[in-house]
Amino acid sequence: MNDVETLKSKWLGAVRAAGDLAALENLRVEALGKKGEVSGLMKTLGSAPAEERKALGAAFNALKDEVAAAIEARKADLGDAALDQKLAAERLDVTLPARPEPEGRLHPISQTIDEVVAIFGAMGFKVAEGPDIEDDFYNFTALNIPPEHPARQMMDTFYLPERQDGSRLVLRTHTSPVQIRTMLSQKPPIRIIVPGRTYRSDHDMTHTPMFHQVEGLVIDKTTHMGHLKGCLADFCRAYFELPDVPVRFRPSFFPFVEPGAEMDIGCSRKGGELKIGAGDDWLEILGCGMVHPKVLRHCNLDPAEYQGFAFGMGIERVAMLKYGIPDLRTFYEADLRWLRHYGFLPLEAPSLVRGLSPS
């Protein structure tokens, strides 16, 4: 039995002292291998006295198990140490920059149109479209703007070349021709908005030859000026995302409406800074009115039966007011710095439920 104790302390000591996995494996073979010293003890059992064999056998097995367990434990320790060492050698400077990922942004015009659509969409309006190159009938005549009407001089129209029959196509000066196209192709009740490109031959500090408008049109049998006021006031409150946006309607004139009005929103200009909301001043933002009977007749609708309102608003103008963009001309310059600064991340589409614009 003393042999067992001696061997035990010899091998356990050797295992503890093993410096690496290779040394440990050598130890395992020397101790527990087929020809190992511990395995060899079993062969001595046959020469032992019969009454001691059982006890000796148990002791040899216990020794074998203990050495094996010690080897396994030492193996795990050595493994952990080796891994720690490896990891220590793999250290990165994590303050280095991550791989670059470019960030795209949506143009404020896209964002603003999406916001406008979200609001009017909730009021039951659908989005309609029409061509940029229009003929005289849709852009002028059907809208009660006859050829010699002063309103045609009010708008600086871009013309395409004269055609064989003497007629000329125009770049639409407003989104209003889509009113006509819709009324001619669809039966009332109608509720549409028309966001789109419009063109006027004008280029200075506050005018660009191309800009965007959103047209609105409601046609049914009962809609009156009170609805026009309510609809646009509701729009302004939702759009500007301010607690109080007073609105004011002034009589005005557009050939395609009667009565006609312009809508102002409250603002203040204290200290030269324009702020939308309750204040001591007003700012014009759109033209509107009840659809003119002559326009309805041009669209084969009987003014005795149908009525409704229309409005037209500049997209860039309301975008500038809401987002504090100072210069209209910058919208079309595709300046990367401007797009990064005033653009919008594409992660969320404007929604009245989730919130219109990022805070």
Partner: protein, 801 residues
Amino acid sequence: MKFTLSWLKEHLDTQAGAAEIARTLTMLGLEVEALTDRAQALKPFVVARVVEAKPHPNADRLRVCMVDFGAAAPLQVVCGAPNARTGMKGVFAPAGSYIPGTKFDLKKGTIRGVDSNGMLLSERELGLSDEHEGIIDLPPDAPVGASYASYAQLDDPLFEIKLTPNRADCLGVHGIARDLAAAGLGKVIAQKTEKIPGKFKSPLGVDFALPPEHANACPLFIGRYIRGVKNGPSPAWLKRKLEAVGLRPISALVDITNYVTIGSDRPLHVFDADKVRGGVRVRFAKPGEALAALNDKTYELTDGMTAICDHERVLGLGGIVGGEGSGCTEATRNVFIEAALFDPKRTAATGRKLAIDSDARQRFERGLDPEFTAPGMELATRLILELCGGEPGEVVVAGKAPEWRRTIHLRQSRIAGLGGVDVPAPQAESILKSLGFTVTHAGDGFDVQPPSWRGDIESEPDLVEEVVRVHGFDNIPAVSMPAPAVTPEPALTPAQRRAGIVKRALASRGVMEAVTWSFMGKAQSTLFGGGQAALALANPISAELDQMRPSILPNLLAAAQRNADRGFPDLALFEVGPVYASDAPEGQSLHATAIRRGNNAPRHWDAKPRAVDAFDAKADALAVLSACGVPLANLQVDAKPPVWYHPGRGGVLRLGPTVLANFGEIHPRVLKRLDVEGPAVGCEINLSAVPLPKSKAGRARPLLKASPFQPVVRDFAFVVDEAVPAEQLARAARGADKVLIADVSVFDRFSGGALPQGKKSIAIAVTLQPVEATMSDAEIEAVSQKIVAQVAKATGGTLRG
């Protein structure tokens, strides 16, 4: 339209202040653009007397003045004006005041050793005119110490109204007064239009020589001869009125016509009667005739222009401008006054053709009150007699005012039904009457006759507007739109929605959205397949923007170069917008276009940037098509790009025969013509051509059939001719077994090395997805052989050993 408060008060008896008047005008639809009080800037300046003016001890040109301006003691002022002298009266600015004309703060100072406590001002320093010859020299009776602004009657607020084209009647102060009175802001003062009897028969007659079918060019011409007038400068009150609204006083006769034009919306012309030969004749101008006009310009006239002539020559253009040859001067003794009506359309056309924008044209082209022609003549006659003396002749009348009377029925119910506010009948009636309408009760409302000056009133909605406008738009209760449904239907069509998704897809890939002009230069557009004559603008704002765009690429490439010049050479831009293939509505299509320029990424310590290439553009195009729901596996790539791409580095993507997109490296020659430095790549996706998914009810998806058997991936490398497209090879492999082969992907290509000249190696990974049981080695081998055979058949490729 400009007028002053004092001018308004000639037509309106009111106690209202300027601010209240301005507010009321705006809410009546006569939008006040500016209300300026010139007295504000002139507040510090007072009438002063120069008690003594002595030579300056140290300067020959300066004088030392003791100035009494109403304070306890006079102040000493050094003055350089040549007309400064003892006893004169002028305008004094004390130290500390702001001089508006020369824009500086006046301080106490010492000028060449003599103290100066203020300044005596010239008109220029006051900002009243350019006069700077000397200081203002006031009459001896000017009260010392009085405010100069009120002494000179400059404390008269100036209104500037932005008139809408329908309100021709408000191009006169009287019409504005009428609207204000209707809104309850005072009472209209009647104009002095009583008839003045003529004392002799007119030596000049008037006749029409217009083509009978164009008699409406001048339906009415009223003339009056006044003899023995004395023309000269107008009195101060008249000059002040005209100057306040920006008109230069000329002479009493001319000033009177301007005064009646602005005050009463009745343009007139006064001829020097002694320069009219024979008589006055209204006819169309003859080609070749010219007019030396009163504005010092000479105009070539053409047929169809209404000319006021004598029996020999053209004297003026009706309703637009008078002629130099028959104008009034200081020497004029006898005059012939014209008050006429001219056709608005013809006046506008002539004015536009000759580019003459006069006060008369402005009024005639909008339409004048036909009934105020004769009263206007009497108004002018009275003023001429008052200011210039003379003896009036009998009025000569040719033609007559066109019929303007009409009756429009207004149903009481329409006021609320259209206007949204119930204005009780008595109130509606009183509003219309106060605006000059004749109102009689009839059936369910009124029969209404608009007054002669309201040519714009045509139908019932016009009358509703008149009632509601005066009642006040503010008083219309706002009503929210009745909801058509509890939850709204989508506002967007599938195509509109898709355009939005495409924008978000591109922006998510790091591409910035731009919005650029729909037009560009013809040279640029021609490089991209455009330049048709039918799509050229007839009146572009510049030669760089004269052609409707056939492609968005040139605009984005130019924008990229501008950014590169600013120090941002590596960027990606996109635009979703229209392009134009013809001038028909179908010729317009919606393109999503993206470009990338420079390197694919900024420099990084680990990832090396590389130049953008055709595959970046292809990836953008595929991302857009994928966002549109196009099954990418069904797309075919043709290596035949449009001419603006590198001929060997671009392609088109099509679905069956329909071309959906193109992409590639921009052709270096095109870049050079556009003045853009490469590398630059781009893609164009024609969203209008991308088929929309079939509309279906419900959104349920087919059941997922996930195979329980593990897929097997086998790699193959083929040697093929250089010219064989990789896609052709992959497609052949895919076709080898339509059931088992789930995917084929190209993962390697190379040439050179041990490969023969003109050959390349393409390696594909084929994924086999067993359907019914795990595949045996024999089955896998069988499929592999089919793949090799198919590829060999389609491409001539052989399996690499």
